[in-house]
Amino acid sequence: MGLLAFFVIAALALVGALGLVLSHNSVHSALFLVANLFCVALLYLSLNADFLAVVQVIVYAGAIMVLFIFVITLLNPSQEETPSQLVGQGWVAGILAVALMLEIGGVILSGVFGVIKTTSVPPPVNWGDNVHAVGTLLYTQFLFPFEVTSILLLVALVGATVLAKRRL
C-alpha cells in the first residue's frame, strides 16, 4: 500500500520535472516545477520531515516560485524559443545526462559507498514533535550556521536591491 503511494507520488514528481524541461512556454515550466515541489513535499511528509514539508510548500513553492513567475512575466512571458546556436548541444546534453544517471544508479545499487541494498522498509521512528526537535537542533548544535545564514540573507537582500536599481 505504501509502496503504491510512493510510486504514484514519484511518477507525478517526474512528470513535473519533465514538463519543466520540455515545455516551450516558460510559465508552463514554472507551474510544472510547482507541481514537482508539491510532490516532493508529500515525500518529505512520508519521511517524517513534517517541518520541512511545510517549509517546502510555503517558502519554495509559495515564495520562490512566485518570484520566478514575476520575473518571467516581466521579461517577455510567452516567447517561443529560437533554435539553439550551439550545434549538437542537445545530443551532448542527452548523452551526458544518461551517463550521469547510469553512474549514480550504479553507485547506489552496488552499495559501494556503504549504501545498503535494502529491500525492506525501516521501522517507524519516533522523533516526537518534529518542529520542536528541529528547532532545538537549530539553536544548539547548528547555531553558528544559523547565524551565518541570517547574515547571508541580509547580503542577498542588499545585493538584490542594488541589482534592481536602474541607476546606482
Binding site: G2, L3, A5, F6, A10, L20, V21, S26, L33, N36, V40, L43, S46, L47, N48, F51, L52, V55, Q56, V59, Y60, I64, F68, V71, L75, Q79, E81, T82, L86, Q89, A93, G94, L96, A97, V98, L100, M101, I104, G105, I108, K117, T118, T119, V121, P122, V125, A133, V134, L137, L138, Q141, F142, T149, L152, L153, A156, G159, A160, L163, A164
Partner: protein, 101 residues
C-alpha cells in the same frame, strides 16, 4: 517511509539528472535557473531520505539550510538575470558571450 531507501535515492537521482539535462538543453535563462532549483530539490530529497534511514535529524537541518540558501540565491540570481536581459527583445543565454576568446 513508504518505500525502501534505494527507491528514494533512485528517484532523486532521476530528478537530478532531469535537472542537469534541462540546464544544458534550454536556452531560456529562467528555465535554466529553474532546472537548478530542481537539482537542489533532488539533493534535498536525498538528505531527508538518509536522515530518516539513519535516524539522525541533522539531515533535516541541513535541508533547512539548503532551502534558505536557495532562496537567497534565487533572489540574487534573478536580480542579475533581470539586469542583463531587461532591455533585450528576446532572452537567450547564448547572446551573452562577451567572454569569448
Amino acid at each position: 517511509m513508504l518505500a525502501p531507501l534505494p527507491n528514494y535515492l533512485i528517484l532523486s537521482a532521476l530528478l537530478f539528472t532531469i535537472g542537469v539535462f534541462g540546464f544544458l538543453y534550454r536556452k531560456n535563462p529562467l528555465v535554466m535557473f529553474m532546472s537548478i532549483e530542481l537539482m537542489l530539490n533532488a539533493a534535498n530529497l536525498t538528505f531527508v531520505s538518509f536522515a530518516r534511514y539513519l535516524g539522525s535529524l541533522s539531515g533535516q537541518v541541513t535541508v533547512f539550510f539548503v532551502m534558505t540558501i536557495a532562496a537567497a540565491e534565487v533572489v540574487v540570481g534573478l536580480g542579475i538575470i533581470v539586469s542583463i536581459f531587461r532591455a533585450r527583445a528576446d532572452i537567450d543565454v547564448d547572446d551573452v558571450h562577451l567572454l569569448k576568446d
